[in-house]
């Protein structure tokens, strides 16, 4: 599985049924732009929203798979 697919699967596991996308920004498999729109973000601060994304991607962040992560989150409301 390539890194982009792994990131996407982890996000789909954490945000089932929600609208999300993962872009490999450089083609190198370690700089990603992820966008997630989820009702789970409703009422949360941006810091809390991004924390949920970081939690979902804790493994690839810890093992160095993700060198750079850009996050865009949006609630459903």
């Amino acid at each position: 599985m390539d890194a982009r697919t792994r990131v996407e699967e982890l996000l789909r596991g954490a945000f089932p049924g929600d609208e999300l996308s993962v872009e490999d920004r450089t083609g190198g498999g370690d700089h990603f732009q992820v966008s997630v729109a989820s009702p789970r973000f409703d009422g949360l601060s941006l810091v809390e929203q991004h924390r949920l994304v970081y939690d979902a991607l804790a493994d690839p962040l810890a093992d160095g798979t993700i060198h750079e992560l850009r996050i865009k989150t949006k609630g459903a409301a």
């Binding site: 991004h50 970081y54 810890a62 992560l69 850009r70």
Partner: protein, 117 residues
């Protein structure tokens, strides 16, 4: 080291933990955060995390935030480059700075603190 980092987070008006220094930024995201803070006129205390890997380890352990840069206003984690960018664009960052630092926070001063191991 941990105490030094804590002191900066809690003691500085705006603390920016970044890769490189404001004079020589080593990462695009650190640049984005610095630029957004500058546009907002924030007084910035910058800390380069690159000289010692322990700085980043201790910082992330304290903040629970895995990536660099990290921006704090009077002890509160505001976020990384994406959030600071977004908040600056919406005017939210300026509001937050006024709320925490007072109406006349804008001095645009940028200074650098080096952490010794």
């Amino acid at each position: 080291m941990k105490d030094q980092i804590k002191e900066i987070i809690e003691g500085e008006d705006v603390a920016l933990f970044m890769k490189g220094t404001p004079q020589f930024v080593m990462c695009g995201n650190s640049q984005r955060a610095l630029d957004a803070l500058r546009r907002a006129g924030a007084p910035v205390t910058a800390v380069d995390i690159l000289p010692d890997p322990q700085i980043r380890q201790e910082l992330s352990a304290l903040s629970g935030w895995p990536t660099i840069p990290q921006v704090f206003v009077r002890g509160e984690l505001i976020g990384g480059a994406d959030i600071v960018d977004e908040l600056e664009a919406s005017g939210e960052l300026q509001r937050k700075l006024e709320e925490k630092l007072g109406q006349d926070y804008r001095n645009g001063e940028v200074r650098t603190v080096a952490l010794a191991g």
